[in-house]
Point group: C2
Chain length 463, copies 2
C-alpha cells in the first residue's frame, strides 16, 4: 500500500468511527464531536488525518463546523430509516418489499403475492348501498369527529360478533382504530419501551417485523408448526429473552394458513402466565373460517390477551376500520394515545362499515366468498403441484397457501425475475426473522387464478 | 413515632425505591430485583423489612416472585400512560382534557372550547354529492388499499393549492396521511429518537404536548407574540437546548389567532439554519385566511421546513385526510413508516375529499364560511368584552379568540364549573407548557354564538 492509499484508509477509519458513534447515538444530534487534537491522540493518528475526515463528514452533511467552537453532529444527520441504510443488499427479503410492490402495482399487474382479495370478490354492491345510505345521514355523521372509543353501534356489533366466537368483550372494552395495523401500532406504543423484546412466529406476517422495527423493539421468533408455535422452543425463548409481548394470528395463520390447536392454545396461555407475557391475537382473517378455531382471547377472557380485528380483508381495504378488544383498565390509556396520535378517528368509514355489516346481504356474501376461496384453493394447489411447488399444508380456510419451491430454488430470485414480468410474488424470507424460508413462497389463491401467473411461474422456474 | 409505624414507613420506603427504579426503567420488565439480603444491607434495613416490601409489591402486581429464583419486575407493571399516573391533580389543565371533553360531548352539549366548526357550517351538500358520486365509482376505489403515497389526483390538487400560497412542492413530494395529526406523528417517528428535544410555541395547540409525550420527547417552549415566536428567547432556546424540531402554525396560530410576520419568518429561518433545526409547519387552518400570510415553507423551499395540511377543519372531520410536503429524499423513508404503521392509508376518504374539492361549490362555500366566521368573531368578541373577557388580539381570520379573563380568575376553575353545566371550555394552561396561561381561555367563535354559552359564562363568572 502506498502512502497516499494508507492516508486515505486512515481518513476513512476516522469517518467510520464517527459514523458508528452517531448511528449508535453515543454522539446524538447537536452534540460536540471530540476535538481534533484529542481524537488524533486517542487514535494515534496525525491531526491532519482527523481534520480531513471531519471535513469530509461536513461535506456529507453528517456533521457541522462552527468556526471557533468545533464540530457538531448535524441534527438532520439520521432520520430514522426502516429499510437498511446504505446499499440494499437484497430488497426482495426486506419486510417492506412485498408491501411496496403490491401497493404500487397498477391494475394491470398480477399480484399473487399480495394479502388481499381482488375488488370483484368484495361486497361492492353492499358498499355502494352503504354510501348511498350515508349520503342521506344527519350532518354530524358527515362532518364531526368520532367519539374517543369510536362509533357506539359498531362497537356493539363487534362485541356481538366476538361473542359468537366465544370471546366476551363488552362494547366498553372495544376501541375502534383506523385499521388492524393501527390497532397493533397503538398497542405497541402502549405496551413497549424502545429496546423491549417482542416474540413473533417464524414465519409471520412480514409487516410485524417492519412495525416492530419502527418501535425500536428487539424481535425474537419461534418456529410455527401446523398447530401453533413449537411449544418447546416457545418455552425456551420465554425463559431466555423474557419478551414483553407475543404477536400472533390464531385462527388462520399468515402466511401458513395453519390453525392453532386447543391443546397448544392452552399451553401457550400457561406459559404466558408463567412468564408474564402479554399476547396480541391478530384475528383479521376471522370471517373466512368455516368452523371456529380456538381463540386465545376466548380461553383467557382478555386477561393477558388483546384481540385485534378489522374489515379490510372481507369488506373493503379502501374504507378502513379496525378494532382492539382489551381488559377494561387498559382502554383509557389506549384512548388517550389514540387521541394524541390520530385525534378523532375515522368516523365516516366506521359509519360505512356499520351500514354494510347491518345489511342482510353481508352474511350471504361471506358464505359465497368462503366457497369461492375453497374452490380457488383446490384449483391453485393442483396447478402449483404441477410445477413441483408443494403446499406446506392444506389450510382449512382463508386465501393463503404457504408453499415449498422445488429444491435448490431461491424464492427471492424467483420473485425478482417475476417482478420484471409485472407479477408480484411473496418470497418466504420476508416472513422469516431467522431467514430460514429461502425455499418458500406465499400464494394468495384469489390472485393466482389468472393463467398469466402460471405462465410467468413456468417461465421463471424454467418448466 | 412508635415501632410499628416506623416499621411501616421503612417498608414503604423500600417499596418507593423499587417503584422509582421501575418507573425510571433502571429496572426493566422481566429484570431480577436486587436480592433481599443485598438490598437490606445497602439500605441498612432488616431483611424482614425488604421481604415485607417485596411481598406487598407482589400483591400489587408490580413484581413477581419465582420461588427459588427471586423477585422479578412484572412485564405488565407499567403500560405507557400519557396522563399523569396516580391521582389526577388537575385534569382541567391536562393536554388531553379538552380533547376528551370535546370529543365525548353529546350533541346537546355546548362546546365553545372545541377546535372545529358545527356540522351545519361545513359543506354537507358537497359531501352528500361526493358520496353519491363515489357510489358509482369503479370497484378498486371502493375495495382496494391506496397506493403508498396516496391518491395521485389528490396529491396533484394539493400541489396546485400549495403553489397558490407560494409553496413549490411536486406531487411526488406530497404524502397523504389519515389526518394532519397522523402526518405530524409520522414525522415524529421519522425525525425523533426518544429523549430528543422539541420546541413548541407557548401557547400552542394542546395536542402537540400530548403527541410529543407519546414520542418520549423532551419539550421546551418559547412565548408566542402577535407576530410569531419571541425571537430573542427563540435564539436563546436554540442555543441552550439545541432542539431537533420546532412545531408551529404560521398562518392562523392556534390558540392565539396570530399571524407570523415576514420579518419574523425570515429570522426564524436564519436561526433554524444556524442551529440546524427542522421545522414542522402545521397549516391546517390555511383555507380560513382572507389574505395569505407568509409561509415558512415558501421562504425555505421545503429545505428544512416540512409543511402539513388537512381537510378536517373546512370540509369534514368525519372523512379524514391529511398530507405532508417535504424534501424529496425524505418521502421514501416516511412512506416506509406509513406502510409499517398503517399499511395502505385511507383511500376512500381521499376519494371523497378529492370529489368535494373538485366540485365547483367548494370555493364558494369557503367564501361564505370566511364571512360567517368574521361576523361571528365580531359578535362573540363584543359579547365577551361585556363580561370583562378581553381578546389578546383581534385575529385576521379563523375561528379562535384567545382571551384574558377578568383579573384573578383561574380559567381551569371556570372550565370545571362550566362542565357541570355541560359547556366544554378550553382553559389556557392546556395550551401552555410553562403553565403561564392560568388567566386565559380559547373561544371557538363558531361554537360560542349560542345564548346559553353566555348564560353559563355569566353564571360561572358571577356576572
Amino acid at each position: 500500500m502506498n502512502a497516499e492509499m494508507a492516508g486515505r484508509t486512515r481518513v476513512e477509519m476516522v469517518m467510520a468511527t464517527i459514523r458508528q458513534r452517531i448511528a449508535g447515538r453515543s454522539l446524538t444530534p447537536g452534540a460536540r464531536l471530540p476535538s481534533v487534537r484529542g481524537l488524533a491522540a486517542s487514535m494515534k493518528l496525525s491531526t491532519s488525518t482527523v481534520v480531513d475526515a471531519y471535513e469530509r463528514l461536513v461535506a456529507e452533511g453528517a456533521i457541522l463546523s462552527r468556526p471557533g467552537s468545533g464540530f457538531y453532529v448535524a441534527n438532520q444527520a439520521a432520520p430514522f430509516a426502516l429499510a437498511e441504510a446504505g446499499p440494499k443488499l437484497d430488497r426482495a427479503v426486506d419486510p417492506l418489499w412485498i408491501s411496496r410492490q403490491s401497493l404500487e402495482a397498477d391494475e394491470a399487474d398480477l399480484k399473487p403475492g399480495c394479502g388481499w382479495l381482488p375488488p370483484s370478490w368484495l361486497p361492492g354492491e353492499g358498499m355502494r348501498r352503504a354510501l348511498r345510505t350515508l349520503a342521506r345521514a344527519e350532518g354530524p355523521a358527515l362532518a364531526d369527529y368520532g367519539s374517543p372509543l369510536g362509533l357506539p353501534p359498531l362497537r356493539q356489533l363487534v362485541s356481538r360478533r366476538m361473542g359468537e366466537r366465544g370471546i366476551e368483550a363488552s362494547p366498553d372494552q372495544i376501541l375502534l382504530a383506523e385499521s388492524g395495523t393501527q390497532a397493533i401500532d397503538l398497542l405497541c406504543r402502549f405496551l413497549l419501551e424502545p429496546g423491549d423484546t417482542v416474540l413473533v412466529d417464524d414465519p409471520c406476517y412480514f409487516n410485524f417485523h417492519a412495525l416492530l422495527r419502527a418501535h425500536r423493539a428487539k424481535i425474537v421468533s419461534v418456529p410455527y408448526t401446523s398447530s401453533g408455535p413449537d411449544l418447546e422452543l416457545f418455552a425456551q425463548t420465554l425463559a431466555e429473552y423474557r419478551p414483553r409481548l407475543y404477536i400472533t394470528n390464531s385462527a388462520i395463520h399468515n402466511p401458513t394458513g395453519a390453525t392453532l390447536s386447543p391443546v397448544t392454545a392452552h399451553r401457550v396461555l400457561k406459559l404466558a402466565d408463567q412468564f408474564d407475557l402479554t399476547i396480541i391475537e391478530d384475528d383479521i382473517f376471522a370471517d373466512f373460517e368455516y368452523t371456529a378455531a380456538p381463540r386465545l382471547a376466548a380461553f383467557d377472557g382478555l386477561e393477558r390477551v388483546i384481540h385485534i380485528g378489522s374489515f379490510s380483508k372481507t369488506l373493503s381495504a379502501s374504507a378502513r376500520c379496525g378494532f382492539v378488544a382489551a381488559r377494561p383498565e387498559w382502554i383509557e390509556g389506549l384512548t388517550d394515545l389514540k387521541i394524541a396520535t390520530s385525534f378523532g378517528g375515522g368516523r365516516m368509514t366506521a359509519e360505512l362499515v356499520l351500514n354494510v355489516l347491518s345489511d342482510g346481504g353481508y352474511r350471504k356474501h361471506m358464505e359465497i366468498l368462503r366457497q369461492r376461496l375453497a374452490r380457488a384453493m383446490t384449483e391453485v394447489s393442483a396447478h402449483l403441484k404441477g410445477f413441483g411447488i408443494k403446499p406446506w399444508l392444506e389450510p382449512q380456510a382463508g386465501m393463503f397457501l404457504w408453499c415449498r419451491l422445488p429444491d435448490g430454488i431461491d424464492a427471492a430470485d424467483v420473485a425478482r425475475a417475476a417482478l420484471e414480468k409485472r407479477v408480484v410474488l411473496a418470497p418466504g424470507n420476508a416472513f422469516s426473522l431467522s431467514q430460514s424460508a429461502t425455499n418458500f413462497m406465499r400464494f394468495n389463491v384469489s390472485q393466482t387464478l389468472d393463467e398469466r401467473v402460471f405462465a410467468v411461474l413456468g417461465d421463471v422456474l424454467g418448466r
